[in-house]
């Protein structure tokens, strides 16, 4: 990750020679939203990471940490305030119009709310065919055939193409959303809390489906969720965000067994395990106070106001810790990461 830190003066070129195995490289992405007079919400505040081909990168954090905004930056549904998003080596933030549109075929998104994300007045067939029509991929009989194939792939009856979204349950609608995302054979799918709105018994169906599709179509996922147990299950690597910053990125086993950031450790300690014997032994690392406002994030390390091991006043309240290598394929942004294991 270290080589992805460019300073503002030496901005990288528009085209990076693609690193084998890297599908997306995000360099210092910033997204500020104007909020009132002379104030901005710093939703994403300088995040760099990569998404490797064929992997699932999990993205977790609490509400307001910027994870959904970051997902939208990656697919350029939102323009960045600054920074670069390289997709297969090409900077999406510099592409406009038709060029961007063609690139975006490769990047699709699945949304959280299966009720709000499907047009109630369109048939399921039309919803799924819309991307095919927009890009002029197929028409007529071939289009119908492709729609039916997509329905079958996501486990729905192929003859449901003439029905409307309201005739389907939440889980089935999420399948429709997935079929639409698959229509153009994308390389990357951004899954933005795809199962949070679903019932427990349906969540596993969708997770298994996403895993099967990944294998079948060699998909890469950016999987955004607030539920660390789901993220850990589905992801190869996990990135934890806090207040607009990436605080830790690691293999999903490592993040669970040896978290190197105090926030990751606190987040893990809060997850309820469906086992009463484990629950009775659980030690919750209670974070003091509340998440500060992203309008005015704390100085230095954004987490220092709630951190159990922060040195304040001192390095933690003064210096923003960079994401540094803490182990093989494991980066964390903490001045005292070596203390996390013993003192948090």
């Amino acid at each position: 990750m270290a080589e992805t830190q460019w300073s503002a003066e030496s901005a990288p070129p528009a085209v990076l020679s693609p690193v084998p195995g890297t599908l997306v490289r995000v360099v210092d992405a910033v997204k500020h939203f104007p909020a009132g007079v002379r104030t901005t919400v710093k939703a994403v505040d300088g995040v760099s990471f990569e998404i490797r081909e064929g992997e699932t990168l999990g993205l977790v954090g609490e509400s307001g940490c910027g994870k959904s905004t970051l997902g939208r930056l990656v697919c350029q549904l939102l323009p960045v305030t600054s920074g670069q998003i390289f997709f297969e080596g090409e900077d999406l933030t510099r592409l406009r119009g038709e060029k961007l549109r063609q690139k975006r075929r490769q990047v699709q998104i699945i949304f959280q709310d299966p009720y709000a994300s499907l047009d109630p007045r369109m048939t399921v067939g039309d919803i799924i065919a819309e991307p095919l029509v927009n890009f002029g991929v197929v028409r007529g009989k071939a289009k119908d055939k492709r729609v039916q194939e997509l329905l079958r792939v996501v486990g729905l009856n192929p003859y449901f193409n003439n029905r409307y979204p309201h005739e389907f349950s939440g889980g089935q609608r999420q399948r429709i959303g997935i079929a639409r995302a698959l229509a153009l054979n994308p390389k990357l799918i951004i899954c933005d809390e795809p199962i949070s709105a679903l019932d427990v018994s349906i969540q596993a169906q969708i997770i298994n489906l996403l895993e099967d599709l990944q294998k079948e179509f060699h998909l890469t996922y950016l999987f955004i969720a607030h539920d660390l147990s789901v993220v850990r299950h589905i992801s190869d690597r996990v990135m934890v965000m806090y207040l607009g910053k990436a605080v830790e990125i690691a293999d999903s086993e490592a993040i669970y067994t040896t978290p190197r950031h105090p926030y990751t450790k606190a987040l893990l300690s809060a997850i309820p395990v469906p086992d009463p014997r484990i629950e009775s032994k659980r030690r919750l690392i209670e974070l003091s106070g509340e998440i500060p406002s992203p309008v005015n994030p704390p100085s230095g390390c954004h987490f220092h106001t709630r951190c159990p091991i922060a040195v304040v006043p001192g390095v933690c309240s003064e210096v923003d810790p960079p994401l540094e290598e803490k182990g093989p394929d494991h980066v964390a942004a903490c001045h005292f990461s070596e203390k996390v294991a013993t003192e948090v």
Binding site: R152, A204, I207, P274, E286
Partner: protein, 363 residues
């Protein structure tokens, strides 16, 4: 041990909609003992919230309790006139809801709203009520309670608002608190704090707590006993350890295996429950879980299983039970989660195949 604080007997609640009569709660019976923490789990539409609202006498049109008894300290709440019920509500039985923001009045200070809850029942003198408000807010661990009494709901975070709701619920020292998905709208770190708070309050005040949730992890963290509901009925009930350790109903068993766990091997495939819960306008005959059950028998389609004792304190409504599924149907090794997979009982000929769970998606 003293008798139960609350006894729900054969409760039936229906909703009379334009599409037909929805049998939301179908013959539910359970007891709640003083000081107990009881969890009611199930998916949306299983009847867990409607059960709670029926106890509170808060079922709105077009719904109606159509049968059964709700005995609170031996008195049937369903027979009480509305004025008496209003006295019990808030004073003896309090309820907190999922969304604290919509349950609080945005234009009134939170301190005033907590006081108001006490004024309504006049269990405490007005002067006492004022001083109690601050100590209640301290009890639910709202920092700087003395200053925050005069803040408005929008000045509180989601977790703090839920604490205000809990303070309000406890203000009249009720014997019983019903918490309906109290942590669902909250982030995990805040959720964990609210769970700890409820657990401590139960210990300190010995208030009985009925916790309604879809989150089995939350139940494991706080409850001593749990009721699992499916399609308006109790399918399983028992001590928490027992239910999690050795569930006997295939629904409970499948549900526990469909959850990704933070402490599990992440390479394990999740066992999904294929299909959807039934439509309660036309509840299926026999056991309601049969269409989705991997261990069903022929009789499951026609005969409704009674809730029967299967172990100490554990009751299960199933003709098969997991004990038999393990011994005779190879439950240990089943990967195929299709309905009827283990017992090789396919759907009756006239039953249309389930729309989802087609061959392609089943591992």
């Amino acid at each position: 041990m003293a008798g139960p604080l609350l006894q729900v007997k054969n409760l039936r609640t229906n909703f009379f909609t334009d599409d037909g009569v929805v049998n939301a709660v179908r013959d539910v019976s359970f007891d709640l003992h003083p000081g107990e923490t009881l969890g009611i789990v199930g998916e949306s539409g299983c009847g867990k919230s409607v059960t709670a609202l029926s106890i509170m006498g808060l079922i709105q049109q077009p719904g109606r309790v159509v049968g059964g008894q709700i005995l609170f300290r031996g008195e049937d709440l369903l027979k009480l006139p509305e004025e008496e019920m209003r006295e019990i509500r808030g004073r003896d039985i309090a309820m907190i809801f999922q969304d604290p923001l919509s349950s609080l009045n945005p234009v009134l200070k939170v301190g005033y709203q907590i006081e108001e809850a006490m004024d309504a029942h006049q269990k405490f003198k007005q002067r006492d009520a004022q001083s109690r408000t601050v100590s209640l807010m301290e009890q639910v661990r709202i920092p700087a309670a003395r200053e925050r009494v005069s803040d408005y709901p929008h000045q509180f975070s989601g977790g703090m608002r839920q604490r205000v709701m809990i303070a309000m619920g406890l203000s009249n020292e009720p014997e019983m608190l019903i918490a309906d998905e109290p942590t669902t709208a909250l982030d995990v770190t805040v959720q964990a704090q609210i769970i700890e708070l409820l657990r401590d309050l139960n210990r300190e005040l010995s208030t009985s707590i009925v916790l309604i949730t879809h989150n089995l992890g939350v139940v494991a963290g706080i409850c001593k006993r749990v009721i699992v509901m499916y399609a308006g009925q109790i399918v399983e009930e028992g001590p928490v350890e027992q239910i999690f350790e050795s569930p006997q109903h295939p629904y409970t068993w499948s549900l526990l295996r469909s959850l990704p766990r933070i402490d599990a091997n992440r390479k394990d495939r999740l066992r999904s429950i294929e299909g959807l819960p039934p439509d309660l306008i036309h509840p299926p005959s026999g056991c309601a879980f049969t269409p989705r059950c991997p261990f069903r028998l022929e009789e499951c389609f026609t005969k409704e299983p009674p809730l029967e004792h299967v172990a100490a304190g554990q009751r299960t409504a199933c003709w098969v039970t997991m004990k038999r599924a393990y011994e005779e149907m190879g439950a240990e090794g089943i990967i195929d989660t299709r309905p009827g997979a283990a017992s090789r009982v396919r759907p009756p000929a006239d039953e249309a195949p389930l729309p989802i769970a087609s061959e392609e998606t089943v591992g």
